[in-house]
Amino acid sequence: MILKTDFRQKRGFAHGLIRHLPGHAGLTAGCIILLFYAILSIAGPMIYPRIPENLSNVLKSPSAANWFGTDELGRDLLARVFTGVRIDFFIAVGGVGLAYFVALPFGLFAGYFGGKVDRAISVVAESMLTFPSTVLAIFIVTIFGSSVWGLLLTITVTQSPQLVRYIRGFVIQIRNMEYIEAANAVGSRLSFILLRHVLRNTVGNTAVVLSLLASEAVLVASALGFLGLGVQPPTPELGTILSRGRTYFTIAPHLMIFPGLFIALLILGFNLVGDGLRDKIDSKRTR
C-alpha cells in the first residue's frame, strides 16, 4: 500500500504542473505565449517566406502582401521580426540556461557548506551585483563582442551572480532539514546528498527564478541592441531593429510597434510563468 502511494508521487514536477495548469489563468497564458515563441523560434523559417530586400518597396505600411509592412531597406518586417524573435529567445533561454550551470555548483557549495567557502563566493557575487545589470552588460558585451554568442555569454555573466545568491538561499533553507541529517547519519555520499536531496528540493524555487531572470535577459539583450551595442545588423535582433528604425518612426510607426510588441510579449510570457509558478509553489506549501 505504502509502495503504491510512493509510486504515484513519483510522477514529479512536470506532471503536477500540467495537471494544475487550468486552475491558474496567468500561468496558462504565460505557457501559451512561451510555447508560441518556442514554435516560432524552431519552425520560424519554415512558416514565413524569405523576401529579399527591394529598394522600390521601402517603408510601406502593413498590407496583405507584407503583414507588418516593410523596413527602410524594403525587407518584409514580419520575416525580420520573426527571425529576431528566434534570436532573442535563443539568447535569453541559452544565456540563462548556461548561467544555471555556472551558478549551480557555487550556489550549492556556498549554501551547503557555509563558513569560509560561503563568504568567499558571496563576496564575489555581491560585488558583481553592485553593478546595475545594464551597466555590467555594457562592459561585458564589449569584451565578448556583439555576436549572438557574445550576447549569450554576456547574459550568462550578468545573471550568474544573482542565480548564485538565489540558489544559495534555497539551499540554506534545506540544509538543516531532518532528512539531510538522516542521510548523513546513514552514511550517504556527499554527492548523493547534494544531488538527490538538496538539488531536487531547490528545483521548484529555481524554476521561478530562472523564468524571471529570462525576462530580465530579454530586457538586457534588447536594451543593448537598442543602444547599438547588441547583435549587429543585418542580424535582426529585436532591439537592433528598433534602434535602426528610429529615424523613420514619424513616417513609418509600424517599424517601432511590431518589434517592441514582440519584445514585450516575450517578457510578459516569462513574467507570467514565473509569477504563476511561484503562486503554485506557495499554495502547495500553505495547503
Binding site: 551597466v135 555594457i138 514619424t250 514585450a264
Partner: protein, 306 residues
C-alpha cells in the same frame, strides 16, 4: 547606531575597492588600442608609441594597477583621454542631472504606486482594482526604451504637447521620468498591495475602525505604517534598475547625464573615464542600500541594527 554606520562605511569602502579592482581587470581585457582611438588612424607609429609611453600603457598591468590605486588614494581619478580634461571635471557637472532624473522617477513612482497599492489592497475584489492589477502586469512587460519611444510618438509627434528631447526645461523632464518610473510604479504598487492585504485584517485595524476613527486615519496610521518596510526594501532592490535605466533613457532623450557619458567613454575606450563613472554608479548603489537599511530601522522600531 553610529557604530553600525561606521562599520557599514568601512565595509562599503572595501566593496568599492573590490569592484574597482575587478573593473580594472575587465577594462584591460577590452579589445581596442586607446592610442589608436585617441590619435586617430592617421597618426604615425612613433606618435602611437609616444602616447602609450606618456599614458603608461606599456607598463605591466600590475604596475598600472598599483599606480591607479595610488592615484585613487589621493583623490585623483586620472585624466580622460577623450575629453582631455581630468575625469573629475568631466564627471562632476553630469552627476546632478542623473541624480535629478532618478529622484524625479522615484518620487513619481512612490506618489502613484503607494496610493494605487493601498486602494487595490483595501478593495481587492473591486473591478477597478482588478483592472489596475492587470495594468501593472502589462507595464512590467514593456521595456523602458520602447515605452519611451511610444511616449515620444504620442506626446511629441502626434499631440505636440511635450518636447521629444531634453532641452533643460522642466517640461522636457516629463517623458524621460515617465519612461523610467513606469516599472517602479508597477513594482511599488504590487508590493504595497500585498503588504496592505497582510495587515488589513489585523485586530488592531478592526479596533481602530470600531472606535470610529476616520477611514483615512486608519489607513495611514494603522495600515500603511506597518506596510512601509517591504516597500522601502523594494525601492532599495530597484536601485540598480534606476541607474541602469538612466543609461538607456538618457541615450533615448539625449539627456546630458552619467549614462550618456558612460556610452561615450566605452566607445572611446577611455579607461580612466570608465573607471570614474563606474565608481559613481557603484557608490550610488551602495549608498542607496545603506540608506534603505537605516530607514528600515527608523520605520520599524523592532529592527535593531547590528
Amino acid at each position: 547606531m553610529a557604530n553600525y554606520v561606521l562599520r557599514r562605511m568601512i565595509y562599503l569602502i572595501f566593496q568599492v575597492f573590490l569592484v574597482l579592482s575587478l573593473m580594472f581587470i575587465i577594462f584591460r581585457l577590452l579589445p581596442g588600442d586607446p592610442a589608436r582611438l585617441v590619435l586617430g588612424p592617421l597618426a604615425s607609429e612613433a606618435e602611437y608609441a609616444r602616447y602609450r609611453m606618456q599614458m603608461g600603457l606599456n607598463d605591466p598591468i600590475s604596475v598600472q594597477y598599483l599606480r591607479y590605486l595610488q592615484e585613487l588614494m589621493t583623490g585623483n581619478l586620472g585624466s580622460s583621454t577623450s575629453y582631455s580634461q581630468s575625469v573629475a571635471a568631466v564627471i562632476l557637472p553630469r552627476i546632478w542631472p542623473t541624480v535629478r532624473l532618478m529622484l524625479c522617477s522615484l518620487g513619481l513612482a512612490v506618489f502613484i504606486g503607494v496610493p494605487a497599492g493601498v486602494f487595490t489592497g483595501i478593495y481587492p475584489d473591486s473591478k477597478v482594482a482588478k483592472g489596475i492589477m492587470g495594468l501593472w502586469v502589462a507595464l512590467l512587460a514593456v521595456p523602458n526604451f520602447w515605452l519611451g519611444l511610444l511616449l515620444v510618438q504620442l506626446f511629441a509627434v502626434r499631440l505636440n504637447l511635450l518636447p521629444s528631447i531634453f532641452a533643460g526645461t522642466l517640461l522636457s523632464m516629463v517623458l524621460p521620468t515617465l519612461a523610467i518610473a513606469s516599472r517602479l510604479i508597477a513594482l511599488i504598487a504590487r508590493m504595497t498591495r500585498s503588504a496592505v492585504m497582510e495587515v488589513a485584517n489585523e485586530d488592531y485595524v478592526h479596533f481602530a475602525q470600531a472606535k470610529g476613527l476616520y477611514q483615512w486615519a486608519v489607513v495611514v496610521r494603522h495600515i500603511l505604517r506597518p506596510a512601509l518596510p517591504p516597500i522601502i526594501t523594494m525601492i532599495g532592490m530597484q536601485a540598480g534598475y534606476l541607474l541602469g535605466g538612466s543609461v538607456v533613457i538618457e541615450n533615448l532623450f539625449s539627456y546630458p547625464g552619467m549614462g550618456q557619458l558612460l556610452l561615450a567613454a566605452v566607445s572611446a575606450r577611455d579607461y580612466a573615464l570608465m573607471q570614474g563613472i563606474t565608481l559613481f554608479f557603484v557608490m550610488t548603489f551602495l549608498l542607496i542600500n545603506l540608506l534603505v537599511d537605516l530607514l528600515y530601522s527608523q520605520v520599524d522600531p523592532r529592527i535593531r541594527l547590528e
